[in-house]
């Protein structure tokens, strides 16, 4: 975790600078020159923290998480009575339990994550262009991709700090309320879950940075990001439903054709990044989840119901994780392609 330590170091520097202004900067002077890239990341983080946008986003996310934490904690005692196998992972329940009034923590993160990613990135490049600062920065001796990379790194750092803080806060609150410390495996599962959330938000962030490179107006790029998000959460499942209905085999069809049908439905759903994320997170947070796509009776034959060890759960979500990272890299690639050889006019 050497990288995180490094990130925290300059993240801390940026907060310090933001809170205490230039007076402390005088004292902070050092002889060492920092690399231009770090200077850019520092500036971006400072900008984000000062902006109302991030404050509002943090407010929304913290509030909803407090809400879901509250419902989870009030419902935990009911769960404790049930003598089922899942009670072995009591602590993870804090993240997944809901009584139906408010969604659970992980559902909330899955819902608000894209919003956060889009709102952190939608004006990354085009607002600089509109303010006329892009050509000024690019007239300095820095490689052009530093702009994209610094924007991405800064926002990812913000997101990861926020998510890790939230996860640890939820854990801490759970610890106080329940009184049972998490096992090492539960702790690791939560860490992996948080990492996965960061990757998920990073995807949306990258997508919105891509739109900010492509579209000149910030409103257009924000709208494009939201459109993609809405498409995948609302319309795409609908379309998949309509399409797969045409192939639906009859009740009496052979097992193979039913299996193939389910397989088709499953793979069509896999295109959605939000589906990938929710599959991966629910697998990580519910150890009893043994599989993600459809299974045949033969495959199920002889299985002993019980939770999977962490390594197996990770193996199960590996395709989902690589898928998310792959789409993120694809977005990056397209932004690079659009940005690197573009002519930069002053305004």
């Amino acid at each position: 975790m050497n990288k995180t330590a490094q990130e925290n170091q300059f993240f801390g520097g940026a907060i310090w600078r933001t809170l205490f202004g230039s007076a402390t900067l005088e004292k902070e002077k050092s002889d060492k020159a920092i690399s231009p890239f770090r200077a850019m990341v520092q500036k971006e983080i400072a900008d984000h923290i000062r902006s109302w946008r991030v404050i509002i986003l943090m407010g929304i996310i913290v509030l909803t998480c407090v809400g879901s934490l509250y419902t989870a904690l009030t419902n935990l005692d009911k769960l404790a009575d049930q003598k089922n196998i899942e009670n072995a992972f009591f602590f993870l329940k804090i993240f997944t339990v809901s009584d139906g009034t408010l969604p659970s923590f992980f559902v909330f993160v899955g819902f608000l994550g894209p919003l956060m990613g889009i709102s952190l990135g939608f004006d990354a490049v085009n607002s600089e262009q509109n303010k006329g600062t892009l050509s000024r920065v690019l007239a300095q001796p820095v490689p052009r991709d530093y702009i994209l990379n610094a924007k991405f790194a800064a926002s990812t750092i913000i997101v990861s700090v926020l998510f890790f803080a939230l996860s640890f806060l939820v854990m801490g609150a759970g610890l106080i309320a329940v009184g049972i410390p998490p096992t090492a495996e539960e702790f690791l599962r939560i860490i992996f879950y948080t990492l996965l959330s960061v990757v998920y938000v990073a995807f949306w962030l990258n997508l919105s940075i891509l739109f900010s490179v492509r579209f000149k107006q910030t409103a257009t790029s924000a709208l494009a990001g939201i459109a993609v998000w809405l498409f995948f959460t609302v319309f795409y499942p609908l379309i998949v439903n309509i399409v797969t209905k045409a192939f639906k085999p009859s009740q009496y069809a052979s097992e193979v054709s039913i299996y193939l049908y389910e397989k088709l439905k499953f793979s069509l759903m896999q295109v959605m990044p939000n589906e990938l994320f929710s599959e991966a997170t629910s697998t990580l947070l519910t150890p009893s989840m043994r599989n993600l796509g459809p299974l045949t009776m033969e495959q199920l034959h002889g299985t002993i119901p019980g939770p999977l060890p962490l390594g197996q759960s990770l193996l199960l979500v590996w395709p989902q994780l690589t898928g998310l990272i792959g789409v993120t890299i694809l977005c990056f690639l397209v932004s690079y392609y659009l940005f690197m050889r573009r002519e930069i006019r002053s305004r």
């Binding site: 230039s22 020159a33 600062t133 000024r136 690019l138 007239a139 001796p141 820095v142 002053s346």
Partner: protein, 327 residues
Amino acid sequence: MGNHVIEISDLTKKYGSYTAVDKLNLTLEKGEIFGLLGPNGAGKSTTILMLMGLSEPHSGKVQVCGINPERQPIEVKKKVGYLPEDIGFYEDLTGLENLVYTARLNGMSDEKAYEKATSLLARVGLAHEGDKKTGKYSRGMRQRLGLADVLVKTPEVIILDEPTLSIDPAGVKDFLELIVQLSREEGITVLFSSHHLHQVQQVCDRVGIFVKGKLLAQGNVNSLAKQLFSTSAYTIEAEIAPNGSQENLGTGDSQIQDLTNQIKSINGVEEVKSNGNKYIIEGNDDVSTEVAKTIVGSSLGLSMLRRKEYGLDDIYYRYFEGGNPDE
């Protein structure tokens, strides 16, 4: 060759079928102030973008300080300061912070960055506004901060794209003086693009006239006049005082005719127009002394002799207002 800071040869840039810059050839010597004068849309900014490696040429070669900006833009940007047409700053940062950020992008340590930024702010006359947010700066202040921003990296060349746009006249004067001072004191080569001829005339050692992607002429203001007004680089206005009274007006007429012929025979005179007592003599050389001698030597008296000099104004209007003369 060593003294050529900027070398442009056969540079062409096309946007689709539209040619923005057409086979441009230009060299800038070290330490000179070169004015790129042209109307809007002539391709000045495009040329500058290509010098900075912010746009790719269609064909032709560009060398800035011996480096190709298309291949090694970062090396060029280390040596060249560029003040874009409408410079933007991070408005929620102070002027000082903006400069410090630029300094850090140039790889300076915090301490050096602060030193440099503070001294530059003083240099451009913004010492007391350094702690103000740039969002509250006036246009003129922003432009001066922009100049400071360009100077942060101690450039060898500065490229200013329409730097005086929408600053008030007093501000323009200060700004231009600052540029001249900088260039003279630190030997910085300046490329200055503008469509304000007076400003260009005021500060530039050499001027290039740039119209529709082509450099029509270049040189200092006098030699430009020679190039562009090839037949009439010098115009002399003379007024004669007819001696004698109204009665021998007839002889006066013939005297005037004689004089006209005499002046015409002077070496270098191209055309003589007379209008009553006034002569307008166009020549391709400075013939005022000869003309004066001839008039005084004749029986007519000389009451006024004036050499008319062509300013950039005339050059400008001849090119941009009066349509394109044939080359």
